[in-house]
């Protein structure tokens, strides 16, 4: 009898446990606090209860990142050509970068479009040498040229195997020294629209709404040259003469190279390369804008709705740059949370500061979305900008610290990450700003930024009233469309007055 009772008891206990477990799982969210495994609705796996520190509770040691020694890397050749040589014997590659003061801001009267054409001639056609065309020299090295053009600096770079550094260096210097101005391309060249066609995303500099915004607000040289212009050989030679001399170009050589030999090679390769004494004049971007309407539309039926909202800003004092960068980071985060995370209106909203020596240029937001999302996107972007502009806006310490971490330990370190990258960054910065002080002191400047400073620059520069918006897309459809959750009429936004 006793054994039978025991058996029943033993059977009942697991059944009770099973019943309890079933009840708990059916409840969906039960049990965790009692030590039972908790399973969220829809899940089959239990949550993991843990005692891991929350990210805010981590106290990591300060970063030990140190950029390569810039002063020690700089060499000056007998011809005036400067180079940052940063050897790294463990790197199988070498990157060679040439930074030149080439860009729209260096074009003078009659030279509109010349810098773009010059860069194209340098990198696609190379020196006139039918026996050794540039393309074959590059393919023999297994490589290709990379080119990036900003308003006030152009960089051309090539990466080669370590054993090919001499030929890589020779190719790049050859490209700069012997541009082919007789090329038939010159005769047929006409300036393009200034943006990529079709505009498929909000990334990249060739973003049509941004270019149109530049044209509306200030025109050339903030905006690209008008489309359809030709460029004379004379203009091209004049620009090249001013910008491509050895005393104007700065090189970066990083990777597995022997420094002394590179220096010797530079001296040899630049022999006979004449410096230029002609002054380099940089066009000034004042920040003045022609603002008549706050919102402009351009009908391109084949696109989605793409948006740029911004204003031109003149030179930014050095003392404000770090606070501006922190402010921009915070605004970018807020914009994305407002339009993407909360409302699903866009894949991304990007707030862009100009990358120029003076800090002048177009400050703008780039975004875009479906036809019914366009008007609410415009509206919510304006709201976030204006919110940050208000003195009462609560910029939090958390926001500031996130921005600082991203700017210093993130993007600043990325710009100086390793010999190849650092040598290129030093070259570009030297051409752009004449020295590396601001770059190397950037972490200190950013870490010193306060909430108050961010508020001050936000009040000074950010005002939705002063921002102008360009919408490019199927305008009729955009006007008709209404978002089911945030119905905003584009026409109502168009009638919003400017400041």
């Amino acid at each position: 009898m006793k054994m039978e009772r025991e058996k029943i008891y033993r059977a009942l206990v697991p059944m009770a446990a099973l019943t309890l477990a079933t009840a708990l799982s059916l409840a969906g969210c039960g049990g965790g606090s009692n030590g039972e495994e908790e399973i969220l609705p829809g899940r089959s796996r239990p949550l993991l209860e843990h005692d891991w520190p929350h990210p805010r509770d981590f106290e990591f040691a300060p970063s030990t990142f140190t950029p390569p020694d810039a002063a020690g890397a700089l060499v000056n050749t007998t011809t005036g050509l400067r180079a940052y040589i940063i050897p790294d014997a463990s790197d199988p590659l070498v990157r060679i970068t040439a930074a030149a003061p080439l860009g729209r801001l260096y074009e003078q009267s009659g030279e509109a479009g010349a810098s773009r054409l010059l860069t194209e001639l340098l990198t696609r056609h190379g020196p006139a040498d039918p026996n050794r065309p540039l393309s074959l020299r590059l393919e023999s090295l297994g490589t290709a040229l990379q080119m990036e053009e900003d308003l006030d600096v152009t960089r051309i770079s090539v990466e080669v195997l370590a054993e090919d550094w001499q030929e890589g260096l020779a190719v790049l210097i050859d490209v700069l020294r012997r541009p082919d101005f007789e090329n038939s391309v010159l005769r047929h060249y006409r300036t393009g629209p200034g943006y990529s066609t079709p505009t498929s995303s909000a990334s990249g500099s060739g973003f049509q709404p941004k270019v149109e915004l530049e044209r509306i607000l200030a025109g050339y040289p903030l905006a690209p040259a008008d489309p359809g212009l030709s460029v004379t050989g004379q203009a091209l030679r004049a620009l090249a003469g001013r910008t491509l001399g050895p005393n104007r170009v700065v090189l970066g050589v990083g990777g597995n190279v022997p420094r002394a030999e590179v220096e010797a090679a530079l001296n040899k390769l630049s022999e006979g390369w004449d410096s230029t004494e002609e002054p380099l004049r940089v066009a000034e971007l004042t920040g003045e804008a022609r603002v008549e309407n706050k919102l402009h539309t351009i009908d391109v039926p084949s696109l989605e709705g793409w948006i740029a909202t911004g204003r031109p800003v003149g030179p930014v004092p050095e003392s404000e740059r770090a606070a501006v960068a922190v402010m921009a980071h915070i605004l970018g985060t807020r914009l994305n949370i407002a339009v993407r995370e909360i409302r699903g209106l866009a894949n991304r909203a990007v707030f862009v500061l100009p990358d120029t020596a003076s800090g002048a240029g177009l400050w703008h937001v780039k975004t875009g979305g479906r036809t019914e999302a366009v008007a609410p996107l415009v509206k919510f972007c304006w709201e976030e900008i204006e919110k940050m502009h208000q003195p009462s806006d609560p910029i939090t310490e958390d926001e500031i610290e996130q921005a600082k971490g991203a700017l210093v330990s993130g993007s600043w370190q990325a710009a100086l990450d390793g010999a190849r990258q650092a040598s290129a960054t030093y070259a570009v910065e030297t051409v752009r700003r004449g020295a590396l002080d601001a770059l190397l002191q950037w972490p200190e400047a950013v870490r010193a930024v306060t909430v108050q400073q961010v508020k001050e620059v936000a009040q000074k520069y950010l005002s939705a009233e002063e921002m102008v918006t360009v919408v490019v897309g199927p305008i009729d459809k955009i006007r008709e469309a209404r978002h089911p959750r945030w119905p905003v009429d584009l026409s109502a936004l168009e009638s919003t007055p400017t400041s």
């Binding site: 990591f60 199988p92 297994g142 079709p198 489309p227 866009a346 894949n347 991304r348």
Partner: protein, 547 residues
Amino acid sequence: MEKRFKVATPFIIGVLLGTVPMWSGGAFAESSGFVGINVEEIRLANGFRVLVVEDHRVPRVAASLWYRLGAIRELSGEHGSTHFLEHVVHQGTTTVGTRNFEAEKPILREIHETEQKLVEVWNRERNRLRERNVFYDGLDWPTTPEMDSLRQRLYELEDQDSQYREFWAEYNWYRRYGAIAHADPVPATTWKEYLEIDIDLPKEAIELLFRLEADRMVNAVLRGWEAQRFTVLEQILNRHVRPETGRFSEAIDGVTGLAHPAYNSAAGHFRDFAYYNRASMLGVYDDYFVPNNATLALVGDIAPGEARTLAERYFGQLARGAESPALMDVEAEPVPGGAVRLDWLEPMDPRVILRYRVPGVGHPERPVFDTIAALTRGRHGLFAASLAGKAGAPANVDFQAVPTRLGSANVIDFIAKARRDEDLPGLEETLLAVVDDLQKKRIDSKALERARKALRLEWDRTRSERRRLAKALGQFQVMDSWETLQTFMEARLSASVEDIQRAARRYFVPSNRVIVIARERPLSHERPGSRATTSMASMASMEGNEP
């Protein structure tokens, strides 16, 4: 043989010791020839795999976490759901991204129940909701008033939940501690076979990655679902504006393989976005986000011992899952009847594409297709060389050759982009003639030398840049094995003319071929939508090109 032995011996010793040391060779010490890398593999008891390559040049660590799931496992009606899952697992966990998880629980329960009702209505109304139209019209998702009401309730519930959310929590913590990540707040990529998360952090903060990603693996809360639905849809719409990534490439994939998921769009189809539901995605999450289906590759200033300690502390606490379903990891059926020609009838920059199906990574013949691609493309590759000097040959043709890299069905595309439609027939002949040359060993030795150099440079770039190397290790693990990586790279570098010929004879045959033609002025008598035509014409005249 000798090389194999040298690799095998340390391998065996390593197995006995519990770790598997890599190929020796010194980290990046030699500048000539093909050098190995040192990879330490750590396996936890729950199957989690960590691969560590030490690189102390910069005090940072690149971390690349790979899950073995992707578009290839998606069934009809849920294309793009893995990519969507990638987004929604980045919306916080039970401890990160929330101000009060206890307060969220009843809302999450109601969201689940409401969605279950929505699915029930959907199923009940399946005959009424059947889509009978021919022409797709925007986001014209089928619905009923009851479904609209339930969807509205879901929006309200998510708005309620928002008050407890810290948006972008994980991304902001990463950035705060100095991550170099994607520009996108979801620092991840989903493709046919993988979902990959990559973060580069200062070495001092690497523990953050272990803390956040282990939590994400088991405690993700799929918040903000409805907003993410539209965000992800927006990404797809962006892709579809560009023909190369949109309908054109989908059409080519569609005729390449008979309804095999390897050829389905990882981005998804617009229609399917209406059908996604949380419950089904949570099922995928529970099946695949398990430690025994994940590989973490770490390259940078971190020692294997430290990586093991952190892995055990965080990922080691996760229970091993059941083995994730293999599903459609099968060979694709070829299209019956052999060669296929696709004439694209919407205006596009003129081009000819010659496509062949080739084996997946892990197959011994796959590496040689990288060699063939490097050999044929470019301004001085075999395609361009075959035109050089010929009277009347078109100028400024852009020759490309692109092999895909998947563990299953791969293709190689030979592409000739022309300036004029009139050049296309000749270019098609050129491409086929070069294929014939490959089959008959008519291969210029200098071109092969250049190709090998390009391949060496590409591999050296990969192995010397920590993010690239971390990604490469992880990708090879999901395709085959991380140990395949170096042998793959060696094989493509050492591929001989005979190897090339053998591969060309076997795979570059008409029955395995797709030819695609796209024209600026398509062959149809009716011009397609005038807007596209106009914009193409405008582009041609405004780009400053030669007439």
